[in-house]
């Protein structure tokens, strides 16, 4: 399953490092990254591949949630398919 990880929060050092480390530990490959600063907020989305992940979707979601709390940003993971369905004909 392909998923979109979105990260939003106040910009600070190490956000990308912490998120990608967590993903690496769960054996999740990052296929694409897009990042910008919007209205002073760090905003990043990553396309990730969960097919070889060593955790379930629920566990991945909880782990990223914890990383978000400890880093002070909001992280969520959602199936890429829902965005494709909504935004692509």
């Amino acid at each position: 399953m392909k998923a979109i990880v979105s990260v939003i929060g106040t910009d600070k050092r190490g956000i990308i490092a912490k998120v990608t480390t967590a993903l690496w530990e769960m054996n999740i490959n990052v296929e694409d990254i897009s990042q910008t600063i919007m209205q002073n907020y760090f905003t990043m989305i990553m396309l990730v591949d969960l097919s070889e992940a060593n955790k379930t979707f629920d566990e991945v979601s909880s782990s990223l949630d914890e990383v978000g709390k400890s880093t002070g940003v909001e992280i969520r993971i959602q199936s890429e398919a829902i965005f494709q369905a909504m935004h692509r004909i």
């Binding site: 399953m1 998923a3 979109i4 990043m44 629920d58 969520r76 959602q78 398919a81 829902i82 369905a85």
Partner: protein, 449 residues
Amino acid sequence: MISINEVLETNRMVESQHLDVRTVTMGISLFDCIGGSAEETCKNVYEKITSYAGNLVKTADEIAKETGIPIVNKRISVTPVSLITARTGGSEKIAEVLDRCSEVCGVDFIGGYTALVHKGMTEYEKKFIETIPNTLASTKKLCSSVNVASTRTGINMDAVALMGDIIKQTAEKTREQESIGCAKLVVFANAVEDNPFMAGAFHGTGEADAVINVGVSGPGVVKAALEKVKGADLTTVAETVKKIAYKITRVGQFVAMEASKRLKANFGIVDLSLAPTPVTGDSVAHILEEIGLESVGACGTTACLALLNDAVKKGGFMASSHVGGLSGAFIPVSEDIGMINAVERGALGIEKLEAMTAVCSVGLDMIAVPGSTPKEVISALIADEAAIGTVNGKTTAVRIIPVCGKESGSVHFGGLLGSAPIMPISKFSPAAFIARGGRIPAPVWAHKN
């Protein structure tokens, strides 16, 4: 790759504009459950429903978690109980079993305590309909509907007369809970067989064994989109609604396909209805006001609603491979904070609501009237709605609550059913009209062969 803005747009719709999938409803055929006795049928019904829908809630919750789109209600609809008990009787026993199934499966509602009597009633169907008040009083999650008219057959006025009485009895039997039994009872013209919404959902006779029907929502999303085109002409308004309806419906289509695959059921339809909730920011009335009305109920309300309803369909049709159900803006009074406010400020009455039902789904929905309203007045109100439905070739419905012991003020049902101001209704008597009985013939244009 999907862009940052697209991800943010979707998530903003969920977080601040109440985008959700309003219901995933599993329709289950009960024809193969008919046994030699009511007891045998009960056993078969319990086994089939709990086996087919046992994972419905879990599956819907998983999809919601993966997509980030809330799925508010999980429901079951079944073959009309009047059909599966016609030989053995015992519909009350089946009702208990259906209520128990809804508890076991963890669904919000189960629909199908239904009779289809739009042309005529068998003796058994009449007896069945007479069990509705007690059944709705003694069950919690079971919903009931009766189809009394269709474009093809006209209006069965004997059934219309009976339903006025049944609604009054249902109100009386549940008077301790603000006559809430009536909130679980819908009288239809042109009832559809694949409606995912309650209280009117049942699994039609032309349906497959197990079917997933999905109802989308998103009045808040439509309103937010219109806030960005303030002052623009009405073509722009229609185009804006179409584009956003497309996106909303794509969510429903995705969820419907995914749920049917995981539950090994047929994909039925996506219902394009804009369904409000009592929460602020989730109101159809507020969309109409955003278009330019000081209050819903003002002159122009019917025109704005016609535009909205049409644009939602045009946007939704391309987004879904199979559109069905009721598919139109809902205008329930108690479930829409904008409607409640309009009634309370004296801007909206039953007469205007009736006109609005000519251009949208579904009908006079969740309207509380004084408890003293005579049964003939309720029957005549049903006849009016049925006439709008049959002549215009659309579904119309009446879900009205004559609140026992109350003549004014408001009633509180709680949850999605909300609270309703008690609305005044014409005091002039239609009793002689209702007493005539018989059938109102089908409109001439219904005969297209």
